[in-house]
């Protein structure tokens, strides 16, 4: 009687353990494996995106260790339209789909690399209307100064570490311009260049 009871208990125990294992396998299979896969894919995609962002900003000059200055041209905007002949005296910051507002921010960051004898020229390529373009993308944000990022509410370290989460985010601040003047971005680019004795050509299609 006692051994029968033991066998019965063993059998019940075995069934319970087997049931538990099956459940765990189920959990592992349906939750952990996909979660791990998502993590691995996410990690890899994040890495690829970071590489792409670096590539998009490959022309940023480390001014402490690179003595290139006094460029003839600064070429900004949307790559699809950037057709200026290549030249070692031109500095390029172009990327597919870059907005006019993002190009304006590139302009205010990098215009000092131009010669300042009045012969420096800025080309800005854009294919979008002003109304649609008051934002910058994750590909642009890394090229901007901390203060500009503060104004665009883009100072979180998450953006630097996990740009993938912000891939579709449009960084914007409707109050970016605090001077109260209702000028279009195009007019601001022209005014900015005129005040600094820089030639400018806006090419919109």
């Amino acid at each position: 009687m006692l051994s029968w009871n033991l066998n019965k208990k063993e059998a019940v125990g075995t069934v319970l353990v087997a049931f538990f294992c099956i459940c765990m396998l189920n959990v592992v299979y349906f939750y952990c494996v996909p979660s791990c896969m998502v993590c691995v894919i996410g990690y890899a995609s994040n890495k690829v995106l970071r590489k792409k962002i670096r590539l998009a900003n490959k022309n940023i000059i480390d001014f402490m260790n690179d003595s290139r200055r006094n460029f003839d041209n600064l070429i900004l905007g949307d790559t699809r339209l950037a057709l200026v002949e290549d030249s070692s005296k031109s500095l390029y910051f172009v990327h597919r789909g870059r907005t006019l507002f993002a190009s304006y921010l590139y302009l205010i960051h990098y215009f000092s690399y131009l010669r300042d004898d009045g012969e420096g020229k800025v080309y800005v390529y854009s294919s979008q209307s002003d109304e649609d373009s008051m934002y910058v993308s994750i590909f642009d944000i890394f090229a901007y100064h901390r203060v500009v990022r503060m104004r665009l509410n883009a100072t979180s370290q998450m953006i630097d570490r996990f740009p993938l989460f912000f891939y579709f985010k449009r960084f914007r601040n409707i109050h970016y311009f605090i001077d109260g003047r209702k000028l279009s971005v195009e007019d601001r680019i022209i005014e900015f260049c005129n005040l600094r004795n820089i030639k400018v050509e806006l090419i919109r299609k």
């Binding site: 003595s67 200055r69 960051h109 500009v148």
Partner: protein, 271 residues
């Protein structure tokens, strides 16, 4: 207190172990002017080093000429009401006043508000002089037109590869003290290989660095230099037994090629 003719800068020298002895060496060579900024992260170390020096040598605060800066992020965060940041800096520097407070970079947004706050602090005696750093003549004209207040000091990158004649002329005309940071252009190769500088240095039996620093002084500019080497600090102070002729100054001026180490617009977008 008379304005110093040489100032020691503390950019990129935030090694705590070296800092105190470096400041002591600087003081022993006769330099009393010190320059810092919140972004250099040297305010606290400089405060400690000077406090130690004052106790040990039994000297008073007014034996030093201390200048600090307001950074762009502070202007942006406070929308120009930078008084609390000045209080914080005074605490770190362990002093109750600054000889000069500069706007580090003239970010256009909130510059006027910052400038007015600084002027109020000057009236209160918290700041002896107010200054603008990294500005050109157009910035000086603009702030004069918009606020009616010109700076007492300006600090700009100036060296033989960037002579800034317009700014020098403007400052002379408006009684503004001009300070030059990166006065040796980090001993750029183009300066080391310059025949003009080599010839002048041989004539006076000085090194090229000393000739350049003397060129600053002879053109009415106060160089703000930094060196971690005691020997170099001593050399850089050994400038007062010779002076350059007008011809030599003009020859050095000809080296100008509008070369800036610190690209203005990268450091201060929209400058």
């Amino acid at each position: 207190m008379k304005n110093p003719s040489l100032i020691f800068g503390t950019f990129q020298c935030n090694n705590e172990k070296e800092f105190s002895s470096m400041i002591r060496s600087v003081y022993e060579t006769g330099i009393i002017g010190f320059d810092t900024s919140p972004s250099y992260q040297t305010e606290e170390m400089l405060g400690d080093a000077l406090t130690f020096l004052m106790k040990k040598e039994n000297i008073k605060r007014d034996a030093f000429f201390l200048q600090d800066k307001i950074d762009g992020w502070q202007m942006e965060l406070s929308k120009g009401n930078i008084a609390p940041f000045v209080e914080e800096s005074l605490g770190k520097l362990k002093t109750d006043y600054l000889d000069v407070l500069f706007v580090h970079w003239p970010f256009q947004e909130y510059l006027n508000e910052t400038w007015m706050t600084m002027n109020k602090l000057k009236e209160k005696g918290v700041i002896r002089h107010i200054g603008l750093s990294n500005v050109r003549v157009r910035h000086l004209d603009k702030i004069k037109n918009e606020t009616g207040i010109l700076p007492d000091f300006i600090q700009i990158e100036r060296h033989p590869l960037r002579t800034c004649q317009d700014e020098i002329d403007y400052c002379k005309g408006h009684a503004i003290v001009l300070e030059a940071y990166s006065p040796l252009c980090r001993m750029d190769e183009r300066l080391l290989k310059s025949n003009v500088l080599k010839a002048i240095s041989e004539k006076y039996e000085k090194n090229i660095g000393q000739v350049i620093l003397r060129w600053h002084i002879d053109t009415g500019v106060v160089p703000v230099f930094m060196s971690k080497k005691k020997k170099r600090i001593e050399e850089n102070c050994n400038l007062f037994d010779f002076s350059l002729t007008n011809e030599e100054i003009l020859e050095i001026n000809k080296l100008n090629m509008n070369f800036k180490i610190f690209v203005e617009s990268v450091c201060c977008p929209g400058i």
